[in-house]
Symmetry: none
Subunit: 209 residues, 4 copies
């Protein structure tokens, strides 16, 4: 973990390549950070404008509505998530290895994208029903995958037979998704270290030995 005063969600190098630094992106980033810090409802368009040196009306040159703004931010996170999820799904590893990779990656990813991930987990209720569905469905896919991997690993004798795959899945996501609550980029551990540690914890908890 690099020390320093890094802002949470300071766009990492690899992200910088993907997302251009337009003024629009700046608006998204600023809003994301403020939503993270104060919550979506508690952040006014005026606040966002002020942070950008704009009046609240002017923000609308860049966005179509406050809710759209939130949705786009959440979408960015969502798409990154989908990328590695599909990759793991499509890989030809064993269930236990997939499990290991998903936990590691998702934990690290959450830690690396603090603000966006927190919105994904906490502010999605401010979205309209349709959009909420998108989020819920995505999460459900992850959960179903993990649950089935556990079930398969159980069948293969790699996971304790007395474990309830469903509950174990909830436990895993509870753990992984809580990272945004306490992780800080300038803390004692890197995102990768946290991913590794959490993975170890879960797998040895599930393991038959």
């Amino acid at each position: 973990m690099t020390a320093g005063h890094a802002a949470p969600d300071d766009p990492a190098p690899q992200r910088r390549k993907r997302r251009q630094f337009t003024r629009r992106q700046q608006v998204l980033d600023t809003a994301a950070r403020m939503f993270f810090e104060r919550g979506y409802e508690a952040t006014t368009t005026q606040d966002i404008g002020a942070e950008l040196g704009l009046l609240k009306g002017s923000v609308y040159y860049y966005i179509s509505s406050k809710q759209d703004l939130l949705f786009e931010i959440v979408q960015e996170y969502h798409q990154d998530t989908r990328a590695y999820f599909e990759r793991i799904l499509a890989s030809d590893r064993t269930p236990i290895e997939k499990l290991r990779e998903l936990i590691t990656t998702e934990t690290a990813h959450t830690a690396t994208n603090l603000t966006r991930s927190s919105l994904f987990y906490t502010e999605w209720r401010s979205l309209d029903p349709d959009r909420q569905q998108t989020i819920i469905a995505e999460r459900a896919r992850h959960e179903r995958a993990v649950e089935s991997w556990i079930r398969e690993a159980q069948a293969a004798g790699d996971v304790r037979p007395d474990t309830d795959p469903r509950l174990a899945t909830f436990a895993i996501f509870g753990m992984v998704n809580s990272v945004y609550r306490w992780f800080r980029p300038d803390g004692r551990r890197t995102a990768e270290e946290v991913g590794a540690e959490f993975t170890e914890l879960v797998l040895s908890g599930l393991s038959t030995r």
Copy 2:
């Protein structure tokens, strides 16, 4: 697990003895449920009134402000929490046993008090700074206790030496505190079963054997 259409946080028998069924308590319960379902910000005093068959102004016969309402609800949960936490702290068990009991109890307690616990974890940001501190401090106490128990158990050789007690603590609370997100009283498992399963998972994950 009892089947049926039980409302979340349907006051369990033992609670019924503790909190009388005054009209005031009914207001608290209704508000708690609505805050849980829609979020604090998204629930208006008008909504609460309508649910109770009152006009929005009439709700103020029972409460002093919407925020106070939230605080009192959260306080109720908070006090229950404190009760078992102090009991465990004061007991003369081994660290590993205390850990076991806290995880079991806290998981089951969260599951049994769905709405209040969810507010405790999700809506506390709508409270004023002073009141937020109350909540944060309480959570920190639990965390510090768990972390030190892990550390002691590690010293006693009961917990793997390569585990980071801090991260393990975060993992535990992430897991336990996420229960309100998916647990439903009429689901497949009872609150106690979930508590037992989670405890097993964590302890075997930490264990040297």
Copy 3:
């Protein structure tokens, strides 16, 4: 000036004879004092009730409306006023003597009935138009009388000819009616002393000698 901790508008002996000490009168007195202290708008029926050991709804056993309450209080003052005014009007003194007596009496009366007089001068705007008229008309009668006495005294050579009777009248009432702003029954001067001093000031200000 009687020393002591007398409440403003502590009913003087002669009043005690006129107004019985019913619970109703107690409500009027309490309300009068509170209106005086905080203003009519700023005093709620709840405040009044609390002071009397009643709930706000219960106050309505004694009054018909908050505005009526104010009106009755103001009326009490008004009637006392009218009593001495008619007496002076009907007397066969010289204009200058009538002037002297009105100023003396009105000043002392205001000082003796602090709370009611203050309402008469400051809160009458909270009354409905008809009732406002009652007050305005009463004041106008006093003013017209004073103005005409000054004019007559001027004709008789007792008052300086370069004085504008109208402005002098306004000056007199401005002075006399301001008493409620600073007079306190436990202060350095008695109501009568203030009356005498003010009279002296005005009359020597108007006098040809």
Copy 4:
């Protein structure tokens, strides 16, 4: 006195130079007039908006709160007051001349700034305690100055020795501050005439000859 339908507090020429005619000033002026006519409590933000051709919410584009609005209006008056008061205080005239000038100026000033002065004297109780203090302190300064001038003039033999300087001060301010109650800019007398007349009345009332 200029004839006509002049609005009370119609900005006099010299004021017009000092305060620009921004929309914001228009809001202040309109509110001042309405507070004067109906009282602060009785004037709603809706009323003010309607008078300006705005919705109540829109008024908040120009003000931060209704109470701030009142305070700013009162402040404007307060500052003008302070200007001439300091000038008189600092002058090297005799006490009796200072007295003369203050009465003359304050009377005329009140008459020239009807609405603002009336708020200064009648609606200050709607301000919060801190702001009330500002007003009270300012008034007390004027009173203390006048009282000490009278006392000095008395020592110099210019004022009757049997006069109570304290009561005389109250009389003077009662007179002067009542001007807003009856003065109308299109009336029989100009503000200056009233100032001169009142001064004459007071000084000959106090004078040893």
